[in-house]
Amino acid sequence: MPETATEKTYRLHLMVCAGTGCVSNHAFEIKTALEEEIRKHKLEREVTIVPTGCNGFCERGPIMVVQPGNIFYQHLSVKDVPHLVEEHFLKGRPVAKLMYVPPAEKTPVPVLGDIPFFKKQVLVALRNRGLIDPEKIEESIARDGYKALAKALTGMTPEAIIAEVSRSGLRGRGGAGFPTGLKWQLVRSAVSPNGGGRYIVCNGDEGDPGAFMDRSILEADPHSVIEGMVIGAKAIGATAGFVYVRNEYPLAVARLGVALEQARAYGLLGTDILGTGFDFDIQIKRGAGAFVCGEETALIASIEGRLGEPRPRPPYPAQSGLWGKPTCINNVETWANVPLIIDRGSAWFAGIGTATSKGTKVFSLVGKINNTGLVEVPMGISLREIIYEIGGGIPAGKAFKAVQTGGPSGGCIPKEQIDLPIDYESLAAAGSMMGSGGMVVMDEDTCMVDVARYFLSFTRDESCGKCTPCREGTKAMLDILTRITEGKGVPEDIVLLEDLARAVKDTALCGLGKTAPNPVLTTLRYFRDEYEAHIERRKCPAHVCRQLNVYTIDPDLCLAKGKGCDVCRRNCASEAIRGEKGQAHAVLQDKCIKCGVCADVCAFGAVRVE
């Protein structure tokens, strides 16, 4: 007899994506509708609904994958449910109109594995993506969850665990890429002052704009992180651990909480883990969402209940971390990789990737890209493969211009370097960084000066203000960038910006300040002509900086196509448009405040922006 509900056999498994993206698109309402229809057709004994973590293809949400068969349904809505249940789940006829159709094609691609977005991905950290209900520990266990833990606790010494992780070549996935095995070794060999233990911390304070890697892992497979942490605890000799996760990730916090409770109940966490006599427990520490708290010393201060501000290093947390004890801090994705390295061995892991960057990396692919979503790719893959093959290229036939990796700490990589392989060294050489995995794609309509201004406004706001270079430097750089985008830049600004950027990079106290100038430095390096156009010619080549635009109306188009519709004049708040209905209109340049509303409202393309 089955002991729990999860041990029943069903002929169909409906894997409903319940990541934050699909949930905000009503995935739970769809799930409820499915339950009702399934009951109506008396299929409860035949069909089961499994809410999973993020499927990855967020652009197409809400998503459901039907197993067996791996049939991918997209853009679902509650009204699709009755037809879908009757046709596919009762009568066995998959519904073509809910399937993925590649852009510019007509034939649907029914099977997930045949969709280009999924083809090139290699799942390690996301190995259970779409296959388990994250709130059922049994399903995680069925997919080899806690198998590596059993091996580590019974068959391996702490030294052997560290050696295995070192040999795998795993490096920190939070951005800096420090070798994980070496970090563990440093913490293990550090002498704790006044005796006492060591601590393990999982850094889930993901704060880059447009990044959702850590959130998705915690939502989809919290047990992979917990298991990694327990193995780490055994390796370094820790008795307590913390997961620092922002409170603005409610679903991740909730699922992690459920996972911790279940792991404790099964004796996979707490005292005498798996009957081996090893004790270790984990607490959730919710952060208030300050970007600086992703910096390890600020994070430690926050866990201790102090103001989230960084302090100078050394001493590094490996020597003196939480409450002065040796502390091992790794990112969510790093921890999620650990169980597979122990289970399958370091050689298997080191077989993926490049000479210096092993394994895979999870990226959130956002911005001007057709296939927005969460992707996991082997290290060494080129930007071109990610953007064009997985990402499906740039929407609306626009030209690719640059990609920003590493968020506000990273830099913009121009289209000339699209064949750059993704590894720690290549990205650093290009002036950017791996970062935690944000990847923002930009097209020809993006102004690179404006991009630098946006990221500096972010770091200026998030600077904790403790050290002068960061507090004053980010503000000074932002002022100059704002001035340039408003058409008030002077030729000396470029040199001044470069000097300031280098000074802040060299002198700021923590990683936030040290990396904040990267967007400025990389845009100056690759897009200096855009800065010069703003300053010398008072022009924004992408027409984003509206104060530099000149708006005019093509009288022939206005009359021929729009018949002098008068919409622009009625919407102009500064009465800067002359003309009457039925006549060609014109912009009065001396009155125009360059708000751009006329161009936005003209349905005939008669407003020219130059």
Binding site: K8, T9, K42, Q67, F89, A142, L274
Partner: protein, 129 residues
């Protein structure tokens, strides 16, 4: 939930894994398709399907795929099902009930010999020209 030993962890893994096999896209030794058109359901196809699911669960089978399809056009002989085993032509069974379905599962799907008494014939209608 009791605390697990390493042995129990492995057992739980195997037990739960069995039920998750349909998600993993592996090889199946046989595919059993129950015809679930309106005619089939009215004639009792659902009891046939339920019997098969319970039997698969009871025996802990991980490589038998249960699917459904619409009306096959022979409404007077419903409930019907089609059994396909690897490398063999499909066999259609007619006028089924729960007991017959269990017998076919045991003798044909697992045992490899066609149950002639319930079989309509070997082969299937063509789906392509």
């Amino acid at each position: 939930m009791p605390k697990l030993t390493i042995d129990e962890l492995a057992k739980m893994r195997d037990r739960t894994r069995r039920t998750m096999i349909p998600r993993e896209g592996g090889e199946f030794r046989a595919k059993v398709n129950v015809h679930m058109g309106t005619c089939g359901i009215a004639a009792g196809a659902r009891t046939v399907m339920t019997a098969l699911i319970e039997e698969v669960e009871r025996r802990g089978l991980t490589d038998v795929l249960l699917t459904s399809s619409g009306c096959a056009g022979l409404c007077s002989r419903e409930p019907m099902m089609t059994v396909e085993t690897a490398g063999k032509p499909p066999v259609k069974y007619v006028n089924l009930d729960a007991a017959k379905a269990r017998e076919i599962l045991e003798r044909h799907v697992l045992g490899g010999s066609i149950v002639q008494a319930y079989a309509l014939g070997v082969g299937s209608e063509k789906t392509d020209a």
